[in-house]
Point group: C2
Chain length 645, copies 2
């Protein structure tokens, strides 16, 4: 087969590839790490490169305007090499490292009454052994296990090969006084045999420092809480984008990427790198003498949606996106850090919290624990809208749950000028009713570069209430303002002219964007409807709405109700909880009874599969309007519209 | 520090080293793998190299004659580089790959009544699962574990991460019909949770092929028995020298080598390579369609002395040779093949049989099981004289054991012309009473190259009975034969003149050799004495003597009694059992009750530490004569001598 020379402007050496090679693979060969948020499906348009000499065969030109094509742009993941070419690589959007979760360093309250000795599965046990002599030649492990039995009443302890390899030296270094660190309950079986995590020479440090981590693997953001198990205090809580983002922004893109050659392992390494970096950062933030290192951490609980947990463990998630949408495992047995690849103590316990289904994972069971719905007297609606939208409805009597494939529109993906809630993002917006001119607030007080989730909700509400769009989301082209115009993707509304933006281009919202946002909000609202109907209660019986996830942190309830994303309930019933997943992981880490409760939550929750449900489809179609086809469901919005008219 | 150039004749590139570097390290740098049977202690003389230009500082010249020194020979492990030198590497003794255990391919009898379904811990369980659909989205692992519970009554199965990573594909490849391979009893606790070793698509193969291996890691020889678990038959039984031999011939040399930089890991890799090669060979010997591969093996039981087991597992054996002689572990928990590095199914069980003490290891407990002493009505003496000498005395009522540091003299080490029982070894010898001319038999019917253990015993007995040596082992220089002469190491007896040997050099036994053999036999006999005294019985109450190990296979009981190595009992009480360690490992592999019995044997045996025991020292000194200072202990020998006189 013929070979072709491909020259990239930012790389000195050209690469040789065969006819038919994808441009994205060619770039990878040349050492260029392209951003492929959609996982190489040709959906996002982020991997566009400019062909400056020669030509490529374009399988798809979606997301490229006629002008782009004229300039030679091609989607790297959709273009095939058929001859010698030269390529210019445009500067790609850089991910700003300023995260919402890092914006506030909230003090986390230790659960009242936390008692390390009673509640904690990890125990540090000081043991004094009699040194061996010619009249007692008992083997080292026999000596230590007898010590544990006689001095601490701990019988039948498990020891790993790794620890056996070090044991002789440790016992002698401590002159037969040692501190054993044990996981007293390493499996979720009642008669679980205690497992030795480490043995430390000496027994003076009482209580010894014992560190652990609660980890939430979000599709977008990974959060680590570093916990002192003796006091229960959270001592550091760094967060960082999940480095898998460059391989797809939503779970489906990640699953597709995982199916490619080497994709699975690449994604596993990316999330491990993210977690290991966060653990390093967390340890550096705590000042101890000697300095804390990640191997001082002896346990981690992990929350995350089912796809994230599968990728973290190197388990193929492929069946999660294929009917009938099954995971390989929902209740993962405890593993060791060494097996998984997390850089804490190699024998440290990795406890992945249990999930319920493909799209209701451990992030939700942890969220339920953290929000306390499973013990609530009031009928409670819990939602965690991150990259997916998961909803739980219930109380101490019953719990139903579903997952709406809302997509990441409210995280800025699938929207032309959408972006994450980082520096330069428009986070709130108002449109003047008279002249239709917008005012907005930008994160970081800089020139805007795009719009984040809360900004998009506000924008949709404002456009609807000022008549820029109608209840079907169609632009009103008859209004007298230059901001409503015909663009490359149909009608659009310009929020900020190029002269005033950070990148010099107009920031606008298009008809396609509005449609994506409508679908997202309709999916979530339809989820509420189906859950309420499944238990036969009207939505307004909901006595409290608890919103978890970074999504909820800065949104305006009024505006979210106006677009029909949230049900029309009195504002005081809404409460924003922040990252409930990591907080649930933290509670399960501290207290073995809380851990037991997550398991119970996972088995108590009734999962409603929406894609198998006609009710959902009908509810979705009805919710594709602003705020809804049935205006009587939104009396406060009805009143606002009527007042205006 | 100054650098010097060292040039080896067999390597093209010279190497640069600093002043003070050992010649052995320099050779290693140059890529030359020297034989160091004593572990680099300067004891064996095998690493001698010839300095052809320049000179080295010799720390020790033991084992080098004046002639050697004049020719420039130096022990690589004892010589320090202090200037530029050139080195000639003499062709080293090659290890012949013909082993005693490979000489006969004995048919092994399956224990009568073996029933795979009742006795075997490894079980293959066919399971038919209902495929998932939208009304049942149970996770793969939940589905399989429910299947195991409902269809086979197996509850709470453990699964590894490695298997979880493959599970989704396996279940679908088998279209939801699978065969689960389980270790039903993976720990020695009564309530041990079954562990999944593998899941194989399909369930047609009933019974499916199930393979396992019984492994004996000898200090000298490693033996593998490949077993079909369904029938219980041994299908191949290859043996090979333990590749660690090049790092020291006895356990003490190995322990010293393990203490060097990288030594521990080097020894681990060498024994793993030996085992993995034997597994390959074993699989090739069995003709199946498709061909058997090592990953078809799902379990291995391992016997070996404590040092061998520690080295196999990468556990430092250092304290085994330091007072008070402790191991790190005697009863190793089950491990997986992946953890240990054995190339069978990665999740296959590695079951190291339990040992008793530093010098009474799993080879002896397995030997006791195999020989059945623990259930014997007769007072039985069991000995396994391999590289070490371990002895067990007892019956179904009681068991005492000890280890005599006999050293490997009877394996040919520490004897100038000693060699292992391989091609070219003199294995039996007779000396003419009149002219003192020897006749001998050589393994492989070739010209002799040395003398192996059985030959040495015969030689010692013959020299004693013909008066070549006296009862103290001293040569009689007054006899009229050119065969008794003064050599480089004092008086010696020439067995074969250079003209008739395989290598052209005279084969002789020296005064030093005789002394080493006397020490070895005295240590073993003193062990018998101490054990008998510890339970208050005279040695001649012993009703049967069972001899295990390759050592015993070809020795002549009469001659062994004549030199006082074996107690003077009627010949019919002696029985040679061959490799009892591997046979014990095989029995424990087949039958969970036999495995339980080994554990019981290990805990029942009373270990007598000889080095803490004055009785032993006295007994040893008394036994340093031929056959013994107290001739009344050897009435048959007394009679023979009297007859002669």
């Amino acid at each position: 087969m013929a070979e072709h020379t491909v020259t990239f402007d930012i790389v000195s050496e050209p690469v040789q590839v065969k006819t038919g090679t994808l441009l994205s693979e060619t770039a990878q060969l040349a050492g260029i790490d392209l951003n492929q948020p959609c996982g190489g499906q040709g959906r996002c348009g982020r991997c566009a490169l400019q062909v400056t000499e020669g030509s490529v065969r374009r399988r798809s030109t979606i997301r490229l305007s006629d002008e782009d094509l004229a300039q030679g742009y091609a989607l790297a993941c959709q273009s095939v090499i058929e001859g010698d070419i030269k390529i210019a690589v445009p500067p790609q959007e850089k991910i700003e490292r300023l995260l919402t979760s890092d914006r506030t360093a909230a003090e986390i309250t230790v659960p009242p009454g936390y008692d390390y000795a009673l509640d904690q599965d990890i125990q540090a046990v000081p043991i004094s052994l009699t040194p061996p002599d010619m009249s007692d030649q008992t083997d080292d492990w026999g000596r230590l296990s007898t010590g544990l039995r006689q001095q601490a009443g701990i019988d039948q302890v498990q020891i790993s090969l790794g620890l056996l390899q070090k044991l002789g030296k440790i016992l002698r270094a401590g002159e037969w006084d040692v501190t054993a660190i044990l996981d007293m309950h390493p499996t979720d079986q009642p008669l679980s045999t205690p497992r030795l995590i480490d043995v430390i020479p000496g027994k003076e440090l009482i209580p010894p420092p014992l560190w652990a981590a609660a980890i939430d693997i979000g599709t977008t953001t990974v959060t680590v809480w570093l916990v002192d198990l003796i006091t229960g205090q959270v001592r550091a809580q760094p967060a960082q984008y999940n480095q898998q983002i460059s391989r797809g922004e939503d779970v489906v893109s990640r699953i597709i990427f995982a199916g490619k050659d080497g994709g699975q392992e690449n994604l596993r390494q990316l999330v491990l790198t993210t977690i290991n970096e966060l653990l390093e950062v967390a340890c550096k933030r705590v000042k101890t003498d000697p300095p804390l290192v990640t191997t001082d951490i002896v346990k981690a609980t992990v929350a995350g949606n089912s796809t994230m947990v599968h990728l973290f463990l190197g388990i193929p998630p492929e069946n999660i996106r294929i009917m009938p949408f099954t995971t390989t495992i929902n209740q993962v047995p405890n593993l060791t850090a060494q097996e998984v690849g997390v850089n804490i103590n190699p024998e440290g316990t990795i406890d992945c919290l249990p999930g319920v289904a493909s799209y209701v994972g451990a992030d939700i069971t942890a969220g339920v624990l953290s929000s306390g719905i499973d013990d609530a007297e009031k009928v409670t609606l819990f939602m965690d809208v991150g990259t997916n939208g998961e909803i739980v409805l219930g109380s101490r009597e019953w719990l139903v749950t579903c997952a709406c494939s809302a997509g990441p529109a409210f995280e800025g993906a699938g929207v032309a000028h959408g972006m994450r809630a980082s520096k330069g993002a428009i986070e709130d917006i108002w449109i003047n009713n008279e002249n239709l001119e917008p005012t907005f607030r930008v994160i970081g007080s800089v020139k805007p570069r795009g719009i984040c989730g809360s900004g998009l909700i506000a924008l949709l509400a404002e456009m609807f209430l000022t008549g820029v769009i109608d209840k079907g989301g169609n632009f009103n082209s008859n209004l007298e303002t230059p901001r409503i115009r015909q663009g490359g993707h149909g009608w659009e509304y310009v929020i900020c002219w190029g002269a005033d933006t950070g990148h010099g281009e107009d920031i606008a919202i298009t008809h396609v964007d509005v449609d994506n946002l409508l679908r997202a909000k309709a999916a979530i609202y339809a989820g509420f409807t189906v859950l309420a109907e499944s238990v036969g209660i009207p939505l307004d019986w909901v006595e409290q709405v608890l919103i978890g996830g970074s999504f909820g942190k800065y949104i305006n309830v009024e505006k979210a109700i106006e677009i029909g994303l949230l049900p029309d309930l009195p504002w005081e019933r809404f409460q924003f909880l922040g990252n409930t997943a990591v907080r649930g992981a933290y509670l399960a880490l501290l207290d073995s009874q809380a851990r037991e409760r997550v398991k119970e939550i996972a088995s108590r929750m009734t999962y409603i599969e929406l894609s198998a449900d006609n009710t959902f489809y009908d509810a979705f179609i009805s919710a594709m309007f602003l705020p809804h086809t049935d205006l009587s469901r939104f009396p406060s919005v009805e009143a606002a519209i009527t007042n205006k008219e």
